[in-house]
Amino acid sequence: MIKRTCCCCAILLLLLSVNRAEAHPHVWVTFHSEVLYAADGSVTGVRHAWTFDDMFSAYALQGISHAKKGQYTREELAPLAQTNVDSLKEYDYFTYARADGKKLKFTEPVDYWLEYKNPSLILHFTLPLKAPAAAKAMQIEVYDPSIFVDFAFAKDKPVSLSGAPPQCLATYDLPHQPTAAEQARLSQLDATPLDPSSTYGEIFANKILVKCP
């Protein structure tokens, strides 16, 4: 009996250690996203503002020369901003867009810069769509499939529209434990699924949904 218990414990721990190939995130990002529209009502891209957590901000700022202690200008941070967008390319900028269920592609970011607001570093960048997309239902997801970065919507006004036709309405979908109000919104979205082709895994992403009926 003891043997068996011991065996079971060993199996459990080995399962734990090998089955889930995961570490926990070491980078936390809270983000604001603005969906950009052209005059003709089509979506042209997304403008992101990503705020890093204080520990990662300190790490990223390590060794960056700056004139004034505790202050970094946009110019001083320009090389780091360049490094950021360059290395994000490999990860598709953690941004995945669909127009009426069809996957969209982004081109390389424009208008990117870093801002330091003690204690956090904020990365601003615009991701233009390869081709502007007109869609009744636009879905933009922001997440890291490989868990190293934890993305979360900013608390205040995380999603906005820029130049969108008046009938467009933006909502967002939280992957974190939703509050009662958010739960209500979630259940409404469930009743009217916007993207029937979306796979199970995507429900865990930070989802931005824009409906232009």
Partner: protein, 370 residues
Amino acid sequence: MTRSRAVFLTALAAIVIASAGGVASAWSAPFGEPHPATNLSASGLSGWIFAEQAAFYRSLSGFIRASKEDGAAMWGLFGISFLYGVFHAVGPGHGKAVISSYLVANEETWRRGVVMSFASAGIQSLVAIVVVAIAAVLLGATAKTIGLTVHLVEIVSYGLVILIGLRLFYVKGRGFLLACRELAWISAPALAVTSGRGSKILPLLTPRLGAMTVRGGQCLVNGCAGHEHGFHCHDDHHESAWGHAHGPDPAELAGAGGWRRGLSAVVAVGLRPCSGAIIVLIFALTQDLFWTGVGATLIMGLGTAVTVAAIATLAMSARQIASRVAEARAGFGMLTLRAIEVGAAALIVTFGTLLLAGYMASEQLWMFTG
């Protein structure tokens, strides 16, 4: 005994399936893995551990800040660092899988297992401290340079893991083949004789007949397998003869060769610094609290060591049960034992390869810093 054996075989199968599952999930990671912020996927215990360690990690910055104002907050920081270490080590990347497999493959003693766990965690903390002290404090290097350094150290570490695994696999693979031959000989001594080199069973009255006489004379003790340097049996009738630990003989353990044996595995595993520790150290540095950060890092290592030692102990207990089963049943039991050893060695190679190839999750930071 049959039941125990069945239990152990089930365990072995479970481990193999589990590791296969781990490999599969690691491969499907780019799009298959759900978002970490949810607990829906990471059910039960592993989800809880996942959430806890992230919470501990995030609270570290607050404790470091508080330590600046109030020295007493340092104790809170150290406490959280310890807990973070304990929980973090349950995740991958801290080599406990490698250490456990190594211990299982080598039939090491409990004491050695614990010492190896603590030594590798200690080395890991020290590497993080040394990297930050040299790169950040002395040279004022950027995060990019530090990331690159860590990456290089990682590659060396994974490479060493593969080498250790391959060496073990070779040694244990030979042991397995020898056990196979032994089994063939024991089960049908009157009919067949094993060939000297292959595992082919030859009929009697071939020119190889002499081999039977030689081996029969030397290896009649049940549970005694072939030694890699030739066949011989020990008087103490233990079940393994690999020139490794025969039992908790203090004199032997303390000997120079004694501790040196596990050193390669300890170094290979301990070389890779924890990204979390490096970030905490650099954050502490910006708060002018480098030494507090050093203390927190060392205590994190202590927490990690406790978990690794616990897991290694369990792996070794399972192995000991297998040994006892094998002792009672020389033929098939011994073969099973050898198979487990080969499996453990193969697991080390697999872990090393997956880590090196980047398929298995390690802690990457260069997605923002290059």
